[in-house]
Structure formats: C-alpha cells, structure tokens
C-alpha cells in the first residue's frame, strides 16, 4: 500500500469527508511533513474507488460544516481492513526496529 492510499484511508476513518477536508486532515495530522495536492489526490481517489477501498456517499447530515458543492467519500469495509492490516504491519516493523535500538535521538 502506498503512503498516500494509507493516509487517505486513515483520514476517512472517522467519517465521510470531501477532498479538501482529506487534504487538510493529512496536512494537520502529519504536521505538514506529508502534503497532497488536488491532482494527485483525485487521481489516487479514482483508483481507490475502482478498487472498492472507498465509496462516494451523500454529505453527512446534522453536521454544521457540510459543503454541498463537493463530493464526499466514505471508507468501505475492504479499505478499513487493509488500513488496519497496514497499521499492524508498520507497528510490527517499528517495534522490531525499536528492539534493535533504533529510536529518535532526544
């Protein structure tokens, strides 16, 4: 799984979002170290839609900040499973590396 796919899945983890919200979420969560721009974002979204990892959906109701102009996406069960697997895999990797003494210098 490529980093951008992973980031998009994680961004959709807590509910449907539109493209711009996904971009902002990734930017904020990674503190600007991983940035996605619209071209790349939507071409990735297109692939993920085709692979049934995510799905387009109606804008969420009841939420104050709904933008009617935009398309919303939600995560599919397959996408959630893959993201969970990926998280486990990376956690295992990190754990293994830590045990060998790799840690960020403080």
């Amino acid at each position: 799984m490529t980093p951008i796919n992973y980031h998009i899945l994680v961004a959709l983890g807590d509910g449907p979002k539109h493209g711009y919200a996904i971009m902002r979420e990734i930017d904020e969560r990674t503190e600007g170290s991983f940035r996605v721009l619209p071209g790349t974002l939507y071409s990735t979204i297109k692939k993920m839609l085709a692979a049934s990892l995510i799905k387009e959906c109606a804008p969420p109701k009841g939420d104050g900040a709904v933008d009617e102009r935009r398309r919303y996406y939600r995560i599919e069960p397959l996408g959630r499973r893959q993201a969970a697997d990926e998280t486990e895999r990376m956690a295992a990797l990190v754990q293994g590396a830590r045990r060998k003494g790799f840690a960020a210098a403080r």
Binding site: L37, P38, Y42, R70, R71
Partner: protein, 891 residues
C-alpha cells in the same frame, strides 16, 4: 482568486474528460481554498510555492491520466515521454555556453519583470476586488450641470434627501463630506482629517467598526449626541493601545466627541488619510439647501438592479426636481458611476497603455532571443543533421529544442519575478492612493500572470527555431556535402520576418516615447502664473476654541476680528524673520486643491451672460499678490486701508474680465457676491488654480480684513524667502506657537515640492516609456545587426566570387545595405501603420499633443532608420573588406 480559478479551470482541461467531469470541479475548489488558506496562514511566498507545485501536480496528473488510457492497448512508447533525457541534454547544452545562457536569461528576466510589475499595478487598480462585500453594487452619484457642461459635481443636501426618499433602485444612499478639524488636548495641537457621514454610510459600504459600533440614526440629527469613530491608523497614533480608545474623548474644534468605534485597518475610504468619522448631523437649514453642493453621495444598488436602471431612474427624478425647483435645479442632472470607475478614473487607460508598451518590449525581447537561438542553431546544424541521419524523429528533435527554450524562459521568469517585485514598489506611484496601501510583495495573480507569460515566451522563443532547424536537417547536410552547412532560404526568411516585426514594434515604442517626452516638455512649459521658487507654504487654520464661534455679546464680527488680528500679527512676526521677503495668507494656495467657487452677479453687465457666472473665490491679505509674484495688470492691489469700515472692494483675474466684460475696462465696475456690493479695483494675471493642465477660470479676490466669508476665510500661509525656504519652516512654526500654543500647523511644504508631486505621475510615465523606447531601439538594432552578420557569413562564397570576378567594393556594400535596409523599411512601414492605429485608440491620454502627431512620428522614423542604418553598415563594411581569396579558400 477569480483569475486563479480560471487558470486552474484551463489547466484541468488538460486532463481526460472523464476524470475532469468527475473530479474537476472539486479539484479547482480545493485549490482555491488551499491557496487562500496558505496565504492566510503562511504568507504570500509559501502560497506562491504551493501554487507552482499545484500547477506541476495538475500537469503531471493530466499526463498520467492520459497515458493510462494510451499506453495499455499499444505497447509503444509515446513520443514525448522521455522528458528526463531531454532535460539533461538541454541542461548540458545551455551550461556549455554560460555567456549565451546568461544573456538570454537576463533579456527575458528584464522583459518579464517589467511586465509583471506593471501587471501587478494593473491588478491592484483594475482587477482586484475592492475591500467591500458585493463591491460591484456600490456606486457614486454626482450632479451634473448641463448649462455649464460640468460633470461630477458634488450634491446639495436637499437634493440628497429627496433622492434618498424617492429612489427605489438603491438599497440605500449615504452622504459624506471631507473636512478638517483642530484636535486639541494632546501634547501638540493637530489638524485631523475629518469625514462627516450619514448614519447610513457604513451600512452602505458594508463595513463595521471592530471593536465598537456604527452611528445610530438619532446620532445623525442636529443636537444628537456627539460621537466619533476613529480609523485604526489614527487610533494607533493617538491612543497607542487600542483597547482604551473606546469611550475616550476627542476635542475637535472645541467640541467634545466620545469615541464609539475603531475602523479596521483595511478601511481606507475615500482615501487612506481619514482620521476621524463623525455623524453629518445636518441642521434643518442645512437640509434645505439646494444651491450649495458639498456632499459626496454613495449608494448600494438594490439586488439585481443594473447601474443603467439606476441612471434611468435618477434621470427621471432629476427632471422631476427640475420642474419642482426651477430656480435651483434648472439644467441639473444626475450621474451614477460604479465605485471602481470613480476611483480609477483616468488612471485605467494610462496603465493599460503602459502594459501594452511593456508587452511590446517583451515581444521584441522574445524575437531577439528567438533570433539568437536560430543563430546558435545554425552552428549546431551538423549535430542536428547527423541526428536526423541516424533516424531520430522530428518530434523528438523539436521536443529537445523546446525543452531548452522552456528552461530558458523558466529561468527568465524566476529572475523576472525578482526584478518585478522590486520594480512594483517603484510603480506604486501609479496606483491611485485610495485603492491600495503600500505593499512589499507581488500579488499571487501576478505570479500566475508571469508563469502564463513564461509559457507563451517559451513557445515564441522555441517554436520558430525548432521548426526551422529540424526542417533543414538531412537534406541540407547532404547538399552541403559534409562541409559547413549553408542554410536554406527558409532560415533567412524566418530571420527576416523576425527583424521586420522587431523594427515595427520598436518604431511604435519609439514613437510613443517621443510623444510622452514632447507632452511632458509642454507640461513643464506651462506658466503657472506665479513664481514657484523660494516659496514656503503651510496650513494654519483658525477655528474651534481658539476662535470661539458663539460669543453672544459680540456675534460673528468678534470671531472675524480675532482671526484677522491673529493673521496680521503672524504676518508681522514672520516678516521680521531674517530671510523673509514677504508673507501672505489666502483661502487655499494655487495647485493645492480646488478650494471652492461661488456664484456672483454683475451690476449693469455689458451683455447678459448665458449662465449665472461662477468664479474661483479667494479671501487674501494685502501682500498676497506680491508674495506669490502674481502680476497686477490694471488698477491697484489691496492696501491696509481696505478695512471693515471702507466700501467693499475686489480684484479679478484676466479670464473674468475677458469672459464677462469682453475686454472692456473692468476696474471701477461693481460685482455682487453673497448680496455684498464690491467695487473692482484691480485686475491680475491668471494663475493655475486646481492643477497644471487646467484651463484658466474666472477668479475674484477679496481682502480678508473687510468681512468674514465663512468657508473662504484664509487657511494657508505663504512665505517668500530670500534663502532656502525649508530652513525657514522651524522659525515660522515657532512664531505661530508664540502667538497661540494650541494652533495646529499642517502641510508645511515648499511650492516646488507641491508642483513636483503634481507632475510625479507624468514624470514617471515619461521616464518609463522613454526607457522602454531606448531599450526597444537597442534590441532592434542588435537584431538587425545579428541577422545581417549572419547573412553576410552565409554568403561569403558568393561575395568572394563576385569580388574575384571584378565587382567593386561599392557593389558589395550596396548589395548588403540594400538587403538590410529593405527589411528595416518594411518594418518602419508596418510600424507607422500600427502607430497611427494606436494613436486613434489612445487619443487624449497626453497633454497638449495628439498621439498620431506627424512630426513626432517622422522624428521616431528618422531615429530608428539612423540607428538601423548603423547596424546595417557594420556587417556591410565587413563584407566589402572581405578578401576574396580567403573567403573562397575557406570552402
């Protein structure tokens, strides 16, 4: 941001349709939001970087998406896919000749820089949204006077009230009047710029004080509570800490005002120098005035109402008022103008002209660079021929050459943005001050503009050489039999066309340059009617508590008496200062601002004037004419003896005498102003009252000692010095404060600096267009020289043969010169036609000269032909001196 949106919209079109239809709209929305957020949170530079990255991101996405559909079915490499090697080899080629690369990049950087800087100014003036919500609904309303042909007049209070009550095409109307007030109670007395506004003013503009509140309707009535809103600029200056400003008191002209709000820093309307806003609070008598015009009226159109509808409605309304009040409203109309048009005024067309001139300069630069690339290309003919012979496709070769052009133009653009941001600061002069505060960075839109420009430049620079070179590939090398390739006719043809267009463009620019210079010389030649050197001026306005208005025991005359006493004491004291020749006071000095006019009548007029006469009106002290150096033509000057107890007297100017007495003796006649009978005792020469380019208007001067003329009472002091006037300023100020420490003093300046400010824009424009013309001349001469040298070098064999067979040197010279000059003359002919067309379009932009002035055009042609002739002669002489043996042996 609109521009950004459009640009991204265009870029999205590069993506396949299916992708665009699904995601295009969202992507553009996201980009606009992203850039806006970026600009807000990280500043303009970060936003520009993101902008560039976003453009690249879209381009590469478009590429990938398109390739996705194409690569799969036929497993063939697309033609342009190998960008990497192209870029690497372009980089190798360019860095192999650093001087050439540097020259090209510099030329392009200057061209793109000049364009970006001017575009930035155009954007700030003409394109950038005004800082008000739904600004396109905002309009300005003026009265017009058909009989006198006056447009853009201010509005009388009674008409304003009627308009506001009756009109239906506006959401609301508001009125304002600019004035000044003496602010006392601080450390130093200060003259502040006051804006008196109706309570509807801020709601109409759609802005609110922050913190604080706007004016309530009951505060806008005579006798209402005295409240004030201050601008951020003033609050920072006066209160430093802005929180305690609300509720503070201001002593303006002796009245106490409570501060109820602070305007945000972005508020700069009608100009950036407003300090305090107070309610207009007109008295009943004021509300009924129909014949004094001093309100500026703005309005907000009702939703969906076009400005034409408002104009129609107001025209009908004006006609109705004309019927109802024939004595005041006869021949009065109304004009509704969009707020931006009103603010930009004549600046717009002048700016667009500069942008067009800069564009022409860039075109010349591009043509020159294309020529340079062609010339360099001809030395690379062998490489290209060999590559063609080895089976490289034409598309591949074009892409190689285009990559070089693209890299050059990107480097040029980056340099251009640096040049541009520096130049834009200089160009700040050209932005009307109320449209934008000073900036230090370019607008985002300008960066977009520069990169779009860069795309066009790389096409222009690269395509011609690329196509013409790759066409001459294989056949040429075969024909030349492996020696130095001599290019086909096509290549010379392409170059000749480039030179012709270059010369034509240069002629247009040189013509424009000579017209501006000529117009500027005319402007400088204007006689303002007075001596402008060694004159110190300042505003010393008596009012407020220093000259109490309501003194029941003595009434108005007491206030007038005090004012007169103040000014005569001040003049006496200043006249005693060393280096002072004489002093005078006046309502407003010439060339500072309009100052005001008044209507008058003539006793026993020699003929009945068509319209009620109006004259510029000035109340002056006896030494005023002497101090300014205004010559007395007939009769006498005012004397100390013209006092309140002697009969009223006046001095008129030549234009008044000419217009209303048609040259008959004017001294001894009588005028009636404000019901007061005045004997004309003298006539003086005309002075330029409002601006340099104003045609002279009738003027009446009255002695200030005789009576108070309200608004027209003196406010400004002029001091004629025998030494440096600026050095006198401190002494004069000390004398003012010696009489009254609470007296504010403002605008201390020399007359020369006032004039220099008035002509600043003209001077700057002249300088800019002249330098454009000079650079255009130089570049086109270089172009002509380059092409001719090239032609001579390719025809060495032919020339050598001719000389060997007995042709005289003069024949060779004639051959080359006639070829070169033919190109130049074609260019000149096209340039003349273009200049004449342009002249029709820009008529009226220049003072005292028609843009298609034949003499100026002739001068421009001669200069250009002379320079071009020199450029032609150099290679021609070289050809004529050529030794036939050497040139034949080189084959």
């Amino acid at each position: 941001m609109n521009l950004t949106r459009q640009l991204f919209g265009v870029l999205m079109r590069l993506c396949p349709r299916s992708f665009r239809e699904t995601f295009g709209k969202d992507a553009v929305l996201d980009l606009v939001d992203l850039l806006r957020a970026e600009r807000r949170e990280r500043g303009a530079i970060a936003a520009s970087t993101t902008f560039v990255r976003a453009v690249i991101d879209i381009l590469s996405t478009a590429w990938r998406e398109r390739m996705l559909g194409r690569v799969r079915p036929r497993r063939r490499r697309p033609r342009f896919v190998q960008l990497g090697p192209s870029i690497r080899s372009a980089y190798r080629n360019l860095s192999a000749k650093p001087d050439f690369t540097l020259l090209v990049v510099t030329v392009l950087a200057l061209g793109i820089g000049a364009n970006s800087a001017i575009f930035d100014t155009v954007y700030a003036t003409l394109l950038k949204p005004l800082p008000f919500p739904e600004a396109q609904e905002l309009v300005v309303l003026h009265e017009t006077d058909r009989a006198r042909g006056i447009r853009g007049n201010d509005v009388s209070p009674a008409n304003f009230e009627d308009w506001r009550e009756t009109s239906t095409t506006f959401r609301d109307l508001a009125a304002m009047a600019s004035t000044t007030a003496n602010l006392t109670g601080g450390h130093e007395p200060e003259l502040v710029n006051l804006l008196r506004v109706t309570s509807s003013f801020l709601p109409v503009l759609g802005v609110e004080p922050e913190p604080g509140r706007g004016f309530a309707a009951e505060e806008d009535r005579a006798g209402g509570e005295r409240v004030a809103i201050v601008t951020r600029r003033f609050a920072l200056r006066r209160f430093a800490e802005r929180t305690d400003a609300i509720g503070a008191w201001l002593d303006l002209d002796g009245e106490r005002y409570r501060v109820i709000g602070i305007m945000p820093a972005t508020f700069r309307f009608p100009s950036g120098d407003v300090d305090v806003l107070v309610p207009l609070a007109m008295k009943q008598t004021e509300r009924e005035q129909r014949r004094s015009y001093y309100l500026t009226v703005i309005g907000r159109l009702a939703p969906g109402i076009p400005i034409e509808a408002a104009n129609e409605e107001m025209a009908a309304l004006a006609a109705h008022l004309e019927e109802q009040y024939p004595e005041s409203n006869a021949e009065n109309g109304v004009e509704v103008t969009g707020l931006r048009d009103h603010l930009v005024g004549a600046h717009g067309s002048s700016l667009l002209l500069l942008l067009a001139a800069a564009g022409a300069l860039l075109l010349i630069a591009v043509v020159n660079v294309a020529n340079l690339l062609l010339a360099r290309g001809s030395t690379r003919q062998r490489e290209i021929a060999v590559r063609a012979a080895l089976g490289e496709s034409r598309g591949r070769m074009i892409s190689q050459l285009m990559t070089e052009a693209f890299m050059l133009s990107v480097a040029g653009t980056l340099g251009g943005l640096v040049v541009g941001s520096w130049a834009a600061r200089l160009l700040g002069v050209l932005t009307p001050a109320h449209l934008e505060p000073e900036r230090s960075t370019l607008h985002l839109a300008t960066c977009v503009f520069a990169f779009v420009l860069s795309g066009c430049v790389s096409l222009g620079v690269g395509l011609i050489p690329a196509v013409s070179l790759s066409r001459s590939g294989l056949t040429t090398i075969l024909r030349a039999g492996g020696g130095t390739a001599s290019p086909g006719r096509g290549s010379v043809g392409a170059r000749s066309a480039l030179v012709v267009s270059e010369v034509a463009l240069a002629l247009v620019l040189v013509g424009l340059g000579s017209i501006t210079v000529r117009s500027f010389v005319e402007l400088m030649r204007i006689d303002p009617g007075f001596r402008t050197d060694s004159l110190l001026t300042m505003r010393v306005e008596r009012s407020g508590r220093t000259a109490p208005r309501a003194d029941p025991s003595q009434g108005q005359s007491s206030e007038h008496h005090r004012r007169t006493a103040f000014y005569s004491e001040l003049q006496e004291r200043v006249a005693r200062l060393p280096g002072v020749v004489s002093t005078g006071v006046v309502t407003t000095l010439p060339l500072t601002h309009s100052g005001g006019s008044t209507g008058f009548t003539i006793e026993n007029p020699p003929f009945e004037p068509d319209v009620d006469p109006i004259a510029v009106f000035r109340s002056i002290s006896p030494n005023y004419f002497r101090t300014l150096g205004i010559a007395l033509r007939e009769g006498r000057d005012f004397a100390e003896s013209d006092g309140p107890r002697t009969p009223g007297v006046a001095v008129v100017n030549e234009t008044l005498a000419e217009r209303f007495f048609s040259g008959q003796a004017v001294v001894g006649r009588h005028l009636v102003v404000w019901g007061e009978r005045l004997e004309v005792v003298g006539m003086v020469e005309d002075v330029q009252q409002v601006s340099f380019v104003d045609s002279p208007r009738p003027a009446i001067y009255v002695p200030t000692a005789q009576r108070s003329w309200g608004y027209f009472d003196p406010k400004e002091l002029a001091v004629r010095a025998s030494r440096d006037p600026e050095a006198l300023a401190a002494d004069v100020r000390a004398e003012v404060w010696a009489i009254d420490p609470d007296q504010p003093i403002a605008s201390i300046r020399t007359m020369e600096s006032i004039i220099s400010d008035q002509t600043l824009e003209a001077r700057f424009r002249t300088w800019l267009l002249t330098s454009f013309a000079a650079v255009a001349l130089l570049l086109s001469a270089l172009g002509v020289y380059g092409v001719l040298s090239y032609v001579v070098s390719t025809r060495r064999t032919e020339i050598g043969l001719r000389v060997a067979l007995g042709a005289a040197r003069a024949d060779v010279l004639r051959l080359v010169v006639s070829f070169g000059m033919r190109l130049v003359l074609y260019g000149v002919a096209i340039g003349v036609a273009a200049s004449l067309l342009l002249g029709r379009w820009i008529g009226g932009l220049f003072y005292a000269i028609e843009p298609s002035d034949p003499w100026m055009l002739l001068a421009a042609c001669s200069v250009l032909i002379a320079v071009a002739f020199t450029a032609v002669m150099l290679p021609a002489m070289r050809a004529a001196r050529m030794d036939p043996l050497t040139s034949l042996r080189s084959q």
